[in-house]
Point group: C2
Chain length 199, copies 2
């Protein structure tokens, strides 16, 4: 029996505070690995292949998609950004946990490809609070806030396809719950299969 | 959506430290309910029906067994001791968590009757350590210690039928893991089904 690392994805609607939650978990678990994306945009400054991103040409990227190597991808300012499968498998096989900051569609694609992945959906405590938070940023027009809210109302309906739901009312409670999920998942018999024969 | 309480069972071989672990969890979560057993032994001293035990006659007990009300039972010094189903359902429906200190067979029966129950198996870090602990009690003959060890070797093979496995190497780590399992289970989408529609 060799213990594999967890693949954990965290997703949620815009404004739900996912970024802050993930930052806090990474602070608490610096040994938890990132998923490095593949992109077709050229490296900037000191960026190195395999560190900030895997840098590939458009042809190479499209070939990776065809081969099923890209779990999910988006296009942004005319460049592809995708999540590659092989580094995830390698990290997990080495026993490293990987925390993925990924879109809702990305989490669902991850779970389809790796049923052993753990998917977490962050919910706002209410849409009123989500609206307050979006407005509180002060960076977006009221119209854009309303658009984001509408999108969030649709997006939360995907929660039922996730393994876990964490309500982000209080940051520390939300982080505690995700840490608990990570600890608990490591105790699932399915992940420790055969441990009783190694004593 | 009304949130149901968890039914959590903790089982493991003799000498594994289950009692101490459960005591510690109860200390941390005094709101966590016990499962009150049904027994055919008469009440002693100040014991009250429905507090220490539900006191029933042998006929009544056997009727409860026939009706499927007793999840599991044992006989000890000519009296039955069993775990009744209805109080568990009632507590869970009220939103109360119930922690069951129960035999391995009892956990398996609980899971069959209530698939939503969470079953945890406590493993020793090794059989050498288990032997040390059993000898350390100093209350049992070496022959009895050997018998218990042999039984434990058989019993641990049931771990695969449990949801979670917790190794009791260090008490605090084992307790932490069980607390994490309880927190995580409360975040499972299955238990919160529909929450996204109540925001």
């Amino acid at each position: 029996m060799s213990e594999k690392g967890l693949m954990i994805s965290v997703s949620g609607p815009s404004g739900v505070g996912k970024g802050t939650i993930i930052e806090e978990i990474r602070r608490m678990f610096p040994e938890c690995k990132h998923s490095i994306s593949v992109t077709t945009r050229p490296p900037r400054g000191e960026e190195q292949d395999g560190v900030e991103y895997y840098f590939r040409t458009k042809d190479e990227f499209e070939k990776l998609v065809k081969e099923g190597e890209i779990i999910e991808y988006d296009m942004y300012v005319d460049n592809y950004y995708g999540t590659p499968a092989t580094p995830l498998i390698e990290k997990s096989n080495r026993g490293d946990d990987v925390l993925l900051d990924i879109t809702i569609a990305g989490s669902l694609a991850l779970k389809r490809k790796f049923p052993q992945a753990v998917t977490i959906f962050i919910l706002p405590p209410s849409f009123e609070k989500l609206e307050e938070r979006l407005k509180g940023r002060g960076t977006e027009s009221l119209e854009l806030v309303q658009k984001r809210l509408e999108k969030a109302r649709e997006e939360v309906l995907s929660a039922e396809k996730f393994d876990y739901v964490v309500v982000n009312d209080d940051l520390q409670t939300a982080v505690d719950n995700i840490v608990a999920i990570m600890k608990a998942e490591k105790c699932r018999y399915d992940r420790l299969s055969g441990i009783e024969k190694t004593l």
